[in-house]
């Protein structure tokens, strides 16, 4: 809502013109100031002149020679290229020496042998509008010789206010004045509406067949008007309000909308077929040519105004071309109606047509404002376009609205706002809002006018009291709550992310939308996909079942940007449909942890070993024993991927992405990945107890085994490690396949240590034999043994 300070002064005598003070008032009333524009004349030496003579130029066809009285005695001879005026026109004249917007200097010069002193100005030359079809023609009564700026309410300040959805009443100059009056504790004025009418009934008869969409319909005829340009003052006010001037009939409806907040529509009364208008729901298959030049297909949820020939206006949103006011129009039917806000909201969204009118109606205009708005529009139309206003106003009320009464106990105010809010103080504040206030002991009975649909409950009035008390006057206190803190899972999640950071991984955040193809790349449960009904992009309509597709996109983009290596991780939800039950009304949406690494990391190319190594480090940090088994899950490399198992249950995978999937994602490097469920990582953690640290020496020895094909190295390590209670460590240091025989050998370095003694030779031999026996049980034989 753009509010011109000069226009506003018609309705209120403000105690200050100070921009900062007014801005604060708006802000603290809850109508946040989004911008402040200072408007000043962007020119010098432009005066009001009267054209005395207009003659042809002896040597040029496209311009004429005029003489103009600018109130200084001798008329000025000015050559002018515009043709939209004749002798007698009152016009703005830039005198020699004037400087117009853009630094355009005006002087005296000869045009094809005829002297020209100054310039007659158009709107666009003065930066007042985009009309450059001709010069501005001012009202005849404008004082000749006066400064043209005096006609423009300049300088001015325009405040652009953000009006919240619950306050349709403030989307008007009068509403803004009412708010400021409450803030400053002063009076405001409604515009004076004095309608001079002539006897007569409208030729149109009106019915409301859709009372669920239209609460009230008023109409009045203005006969014998003449379409033309609105006067400068109206065009200027509309311009400052951000509304384009079109014609006097349309400008009047917009002006009243800006002034009172009620949108109107002007029909050419003579185009209404059979002189009947009805408000009804549109029928399937109907369409309507609207004023913006488009043909709109209508649905039974669109409300239309129809005449005998069908729809002629899209109710509350936009008029139809067929009944548009044109140059040929003489009789106007001025409509002001109250529409069901919900209907307007859905219809305007469906038609993708949001207008100043629909914005107001969908927030709910005062249902009792229509007759006044209609009168005001007819008054102004007769004033700016001529014509006679017919005496009889049609006013059909389908649904009536009365002021509501709300009781506000002082205890409720004090409970929320504090004890300083006595009954008297609250009552005084509410009275400033022009609410009907009656105090009954400790209760305030408030009669709420119909322009405040937001005030229906005590809590709503508490807000008004707080607002007018000025939020700045409230103290800042702290409640005394219980102790706060993170739960174990939240703490561990932080441990996980900081551990991964320590391992050189960067946390990513991705949108959870994927394509069908991306979904299918990793998902074994595609049937359980959850889809977005109204996706941003049709090819990204599925909710992810894996974090990997998006991470792969990130990998590709980072590699393409020249990153030598890409180490990423993400924690986020995946989504699976699940059978409905009272406890499972929403999709299953567990949190996952995923890692993707590609390219050169720490000097080596990321591969499955990197993924496995990260898992081991993380498991170590969390104190978890994660077992691994070679598996071939969908999307993963079939021979370089492990299932990660905690307490015998798979919690995810670590390895590499399948080359076919890499091809889909257009990545030409190996990508090491991990994806695990988060909750078992958190739940599996338990508090550590210290193990004694032995002070006795260790013994290291190596064993090299020939292993049968199919034996997992991890199983060999684990089985041998379990064979001796004195084993402190076991680490594979060589793993090779003999090129000719194909025999695989694994060499392991073992470390033994006893907690309470130095091991002697025979003990070491005994333990070593246990390891060898455990390996033999798996079919692994000691090399050379």
């Amino acid at each position: 809502m753009r509010v011109s300070l000069q226009w506003l002064k018609e309705y209120i005598d403000l105690p200050t013109d100070d921009v900062a003070g007014l801005k604060r008032a708006f802000d603290m009333l809850g109508h946040a100031v989004e911008s402040v524009e200072i408007l000043e004349a962007d020119w010098t030496s432009v005066v009001v002149g009267k054209v005395l003579t207009v003659d042809a130029h002896p040597d040029a066809d496209k311009v004429r020679v005029t003489t103009v009285d600018v109130g200084t005695g001798d008329p000025y001879q000015i050559i002018c290229g515009a043709w939209n005026f004749e002798a007698g026109a009152v016009v703005p004249v830039a005198l020699p020496g004037a400087v117009l917007p853009g630094g355009f200097a005006i002087g005296s010069r000869a045009i094809r042998g005829v002297d020209s002193h100054g310039m007659i100005c158009s709107e666009s030359e003065l930066g007042l509008g985009d009309d450059h079809d001709g010069i501005m023609v001012l009202a005849d009564e404008t004082p000749i010789g006066g400064d043209f700026v005096d006609q423009l309410e300049l300088p001015d300040v325009v405040f652009e206010l953000e009006i919240t959805n619950n306050r349709p009443d403030v989307m008007s100059m009068v509403g803004v004045a009412r708010e400021l009056a409450a803030w400053f504790g002063i009076e405001y004025r409604e515009p004076e509406i004095q309608l001079e009418t002539v006897p007569g009934e409208p030729q149109v008869s009106i019915t409301i067949s859709a009372p669920d969409g239209c609460n009230r319909f008023t109409a009045r005829e203005v006969r014998g008007m003449k379409l033309g340009k609105s006067p400068l003052w109206m065009r200027e006010r509309l311009r400052k309000a951000g509304v384009r001037a079109i014609s006097n009939a349309v400008d009047v409806t917009n002006y009243v909308m800006m002034e009172l907040g009620h949108p109107l529509h002007a029909f050419d009364a003579d185009t209404i077929a059979n002189n009947v208008l009805d408000v009804r729901w549109a029928q399937r298959g109907e369409d309507l040519a609207t004023l913006d030049g488009s043909i709109r297909e209508l649905t039974p949820e669109d409300l239309v105004i129809v005449d005998a020939a069908g729809p002629t206006s899209l109710a509350a949103i936009m008029g139809g071309a067929r009944s548009e006011v044109t140059k040929a129009t003489s009789n106007v039917l001025m409509e002001a109606a109250h529409w069901n806000p919900t209907t307007v909201m859905y219809s305007s969204r469906r038609q993708d047509l949001q207008s100043e009118a629909s914005k107001r109606f969908e927030r709910n205009v005062d249902p009792n404002l229509a007759p006044r708005a209609n009168d005001r529009a007819c008054q102004l139309l007769a004033r700016v376009a001529g014509g006679e206003v017919l005496e009889s106003q049609i006013d059909i009320v389908a649904n009536g609205f009365e002021p509501a009464t709300v009781e506000l106990p002082t205890s409720e105010v004090q409970r929320l706002l504090g004890d300083r809010f006595t009954t008297d103080m609250s009552a005084d504040l509410l009275r400033r809002l022009e609410l009907g206030v009656a105090v009954d002991g400790d209760t305030i009975r408030v009669s709420v006018p119909t322009y405040r649909p937001d005030l229906t409950r005590p809590a709503d009035l508490v807000e008004e009291v707080a607002r007018l008390a000025d939020f700045d006057t409230f103290e800042a206190t702290l409640p005394t709550g219980p102790a706060g803190g993170l739960d174990e899972g939240q703490k561990l999640t932080r441990v996980i992310v900081t551990t991964l950071r320590g391992l050189g991984l960067n946390q990513a955040v991705n949108l959870p939308f994927v394509s069908q193809e991306e979904l299918a790349a990793f998902s074994e449960k595609v049937a359980d996909v959850v889809s977005v009904r109204n996706p941003l992009r049709d090819d990204q309509s599925k909710l992810r079942q894996s974090l990997l597709p998006a991470l792969l996109r990130n990998v590709r983009e980072n590699l393409n940007r020249g990153a030598p290596g890409v180490p990423l991780f993400e924690i986020g939800r995946v989504f699976y449909a699940q059978p409905w039950s009272e406890d499972a009304r929403v999709p299953d949406q567990p949190n996952r942890l995923a890692i993707a690494m590609a390219g050169s990391l720490g000097g080596t190319e990321a591969d499955a070993a990197a993924a496995l190594g990260v898992v081991t480090a993380l498991a170590q940090r969390l104190g978890l024993e994660v077992d691994r088994e070679a598996v071939q899950p969908r999307g993963y490399h079939p021979t370089r991927t492990a299932s990660l198992e905690l307490h015998g249950k798979s919690i995810g995978y670590a390895g590499e992405v399948h080359p076919d999937v890499l091809a889909i994602f257009e990545i030409e490097r190996r990508v090491a990945v991990v994806e695990v469920e988060l909750s078992p990582l958190i739940a599996g953690h338990s508090a550590r107890q210290m193990r004694p640290v032995s002070t006795f020496p260790h013994v290291d020895f190596d064993l090299s085994f020939d292993v049968p094909s199919g034996l997992a190295g991890g199983d060999l390590v684990e089985a041998t490690a379990r064979a001796s209670v004195l084993l402190e460590g076991a680490e594979v240091f060589d793993d090779f396949v003999h090129p000719e025989s194909g025999q695989r050998s694994i060499a392991i370095r073992y470390r033994l240590r006893a907690p309470d003694r130095t091991l002697d030779r025979s003990e070491i031999e005994t333990e070593r034999a246990k390891l060898v026996a455990a390996a033999a049980a798996l079919g692994a034989t000691l090399r050379g043994g």
Binding site: M28, L29, G30, A32, T164, N165, R167, T342, R349, R415, L416, G418, A459, V462, E463, A466, R467, F471, F474, E475, A476, L478, P479, G481, P482, G484, L486, Q490, V497, L500, R501, G502, G504, N506, A508, V509, N510, L511, P512, V530, S531, V532, R533, N534, P535, L536, N554, E557, R561, A563, P567, L568, F569, R573, F575, W580, R585, V586, P587, Q589
Partner: protein, 366 residues
């Protein structure tokens, strides 16, 4: 000269003759050679030649036993004197050589410390995560717990439980993302804010409630510099007996001071949200210019930053979750995590938060 003296001279002469026959080296004559030795190894060789097993001194020591008693003592003294003298000279030289050699070694193993030749990489927490953790920690200090809830959510929790009118524009498909899921009457969506967690938490817990709720939210916005269809909020809720509007103000003031700096001031401006009444927006003084720069890029010159929305919990919300609005009051607030990060770190384009460009991520290790 006495007779005795003469006698002793005579003895001395004999001894001298004998000692001359020992062919002991003169250490002072060797000093020049010692000084010319440059390395520990060469000095070791020299030591071996002159004091080692095959040296003259070693031979003479061996011969000592063959000497008569009265001569052996003196000869032994002389040999030891020469040996000690020589050893001292060698030791002194060794000390000098060692110092030189150590210096040489240290000089030789020097590196160019201005270059990195080995790389350890530290990763990063996403800025979103950092801000969530930091804000959570501030409120934990004020007595809050951290709560969580589903992102694919029932429309009832996202709207109805929060007093959102049936015809609120936020419910339109142009604003909210809906899911094809379950019973059409039990409409399912991607939550538009973290507030549904308020309702779920209150349903499951008796007051008092002091929680913050960080999480992902969804809106039907196309991606541009100031919009993301997926964004993060952090929401707070305090419900207790006796909570007043001033508590909201004080709590947010404390938060702002901790998050933006101790000199930060806040103001509440009336606003409208369906789930709070009164509702407000909170502005904080600009930490960048503190109101002193009319062309400040962070606050746009106003000196104030719009930071979050807040208000006193609407009684209809208490009704919806089974609390008695007569027994409790409360306040709620919600901030955009990206907004907080942008203010704090001077980020002007929201797309950085989802681009996952390492050049951005690595700037903020967290």
């Amino acid at each position: 000269m006495t007779e005795e003296q003469e006698e002793s001279i005579d003895l001395d002469a004999k001894l001298d003759e004998m000692l001359l026959n020992m062919r002991l080296p003169d250490p002072s004559e060797l000093q020049a050679r010692i000084d010319a030795i440059a390395t520990s190894d060469d000095l070791g060789e020299f030591h071996k030649d002159h004091l080692g097993r095959g040296s003259v001194i070693a031979k003479e020591l061996k011969n000592l036993g063959k000497l008569p008693d009265e001569q052996r003592k003196e000869a032994g003294r002389r040999i030891h004197a020469v040996r000690q003298d020589l050893q001292r000279r060698i030791d002194a030289r060794q000390e000098a050589i060692s110092i030189q050699e150590k210096a040489g070694q240290i000089a030789a193993e020097g590196i160019d410390v201005t270059l990195d030749s080995r790389h350890y990489s530290i990763g990063s927490l996403h800025l979103i995560q950092q801000v969530i953790d930091e804000v959570s920690d501030i409120f934990i200090g004020l007595g809050y717990k951290v709560a969580d809830g589903p992102e694919a959510e029932l429309a009832w929790y996202n709207f109805d439980a929060l007093n959102t009118p049936k015809d609120h524009p936020g419910r339109l498909e142009s604003d909210t993302m809906y899911l094809d899921y379950g019973d059409p009457a039990d409409e399912m969506l991607l939550r538009a804010h973290t507030s549904p967690v308020q309702a779920r938490y209150m349903e499951a817990h008796e007051p008092p409630v002091y929680i913050v709720v960080p999480g992902k939210c969804y809106r039907n916005d196309t991606v541009d510099a100031s919009h993301l269809p997926v964004f993060y909020q952090i929401e707070g809720l305090a419900v207790d007996s006796g909570i007043q509007f001033s508590d909201l103000k004080g709590t947010l003031a404390e938060f702002a001071r901790q998050f933006l700096g101790p000199r930060t001031e806040v103001r509440l401006r009336p606003h409208y949200f369906p789930f709070t009444e009164p509702s407000a927006e909170m502005d904080a003084t600009c930490p960048s210019c503190e109101g002193a720069n009319t062309s400040c890029r962070v606050c746009g010159g106003s000196g104030w930053l719009e930071l979050l929305g807040c208000g006193m919990v609407d009684p209809n919300v208490f009704d919806a979750v089974g609390y008695n609005p007569a027994d409790v009051t409360g306040f709620a607030f919600g901030a955009g995590v990206e907004r907080l990060a942008m203010v704090r770190y001077g980020i002007e384009d929201m797309r950085h938060f989802v681009d996952n460009d390492l050049r951005f991520l690595a700037q903020f290790p967290g």
